[in-house]
Amino acid sequence: MAAVPSAFNAPLPFTESDFPSSMDERVARQLAALSQATNEGNLGYTAWTFWPAKSDLYIQEEMQKVLTGDITAAEFCEGLDEEFTKERKEGAVPKIIKPAGA
């Protein structure tokens, strides 16, 4: 395991050389690529970060049941579909922000 935690993605400009040698080089590469992309203005939001409240909680809670084997992946997806469809009808799905330049 790398000595430096990889949960670090502050929007600061840096390159792979800024990381200590003890860091996993794959993580360093990934963070440097993210930094480069951000600095070039290539940032945005993906649709799956914009779940409405009930669907979002459903994913957090019910995914544990998939992992423990209490429900199947198919049942999980059916439940999510049901929850999301209901919220979409209610107009509860947040507007997806367009990334810069899109």
Binding site: A53, K54, D56, L57, E61, Q64, K65, T68
Partner: protein, 284 residues
């Protein structure tokens, strides 16, 4: 008039933080309020949905298990601890302080301590494994479906039982010593003294602790929310944590208000039973 003036600040505070929110909760439980903005009247819909909500009944069952644990383990440990402490004179104060310390530590701190102690990879299990006792190594107490609820109850009990010891110890010291002498002369052993002298002597406090335990177990929230958040897969979910999620994660504040009233109703029933028994002449 002067008395009312003195009481006025307290009454104002109570109206603002207890009566007002209580009345609002009753009203919102009949609405579809999301927690923000306007609320539409939906009548009994929230209550009928709760009756059909499997998550609610599962959470309530966990509350009942929690109640059963807390009516037996800390009360039993408290009685035993107080009885044993009452038998010693040297270092009694040291033990009293040691038992009471967990009670005055914030729940967040207690929880963090035990999360570290019971951590599957760097907790007590792995330490024991290094000295040749491998049985707890890798056991995820808070991540196991089978162990999560009792493990959190263990942590809560660790902080609670010292307080129970002191409550019982205080009342034990008021039990007439002559009764013990008389029991000894009648040939009663320690256990018989405990059952026939100690228990009747502390009955009022015992019932008070039972009452507080039942109400506290119905309203339990902090340790479960801090440690497991009701997981994994809902095995440690109680009505308190479910209600919180309904109100602040699903934004179903009206539904959560109805759940809260359901809990208050159950707590009220317990108090009514207590008052009824007192009226019937029970010395409690």
């Amino acid at each position: 008039m002067t008395a009312w003036l003195f009481m006025l600040p307290l009454i104002v505070v109570n109206v603002l933080v207890i009566l007002g929110p209580s009345v609002a909760t009753v009203y919102f439980s009949f609405t579809d309020w999301s927690g923000i903005g306007s609320a539409d009247w939906v009548g009994l819909q929230n209550y009928t949905e709760i009756v059909a909500d499997a998550d609610f009944w599962s959470a309530l069952m966990h509350n009942l298990i929690w109640t059963a644990i807390f009516l037996t383990v800390p009360v039993g440990m408290g009685l035993l601890g107080a009885f044993l402490l009452s038998q010693i004179t040297r270092f009694q104060m040291v033990f009293r302080v040691l038992y009471f310390i967990p009670y005055v530590i914030a729940s967040v701190v207690n929880a963090a301590l035990w999360q570290n102690i019971l951590d599957p990879t760097r907790g007590i299990g792995s330490v024991l494994a290094t000295v040749g006792i491998p049985y707890l190594d890798g056991v995820s107490f808070f991540g196991s479906e089978r162990l999560a609820l009792p493990a959190v109850a263990f942590v809560d009990n660790w902080h609670w039982w010292g307080f129970v010891v002191l409550l019982f110890l205080t009342v034990l010291q008021s039990v007439d010593k002559e009764l013990y002498e008389a029991a000894k002369m009648d040939g009663a052993n320690r256990w018989q003294q405990f059952i026939n002298v100690t228990i009747p002597g502390i009955r009022a406090t015992l019932v008070f602790v039972v009452l507080m335990t039942i109400i506290g177990s119905l309203l339990v929230f902090d340790y479960i929310y801090i440690i497991t958040r009701g997981g994994p897969a809902g095995v440690s979910e109680v009505v308190g944590t479910l209600m919180y999620k309904e109100a602040f994660a699903r934004f179903e504040a009206g539904y959560a208000a109805a759940m809260g009233l359901g809990l208050s109703f159950m707590s009220g029933l317990v108090i009514l039973v207590f008052l009824y028994l007192r009226r019937r002449g029970w010395e409690i």
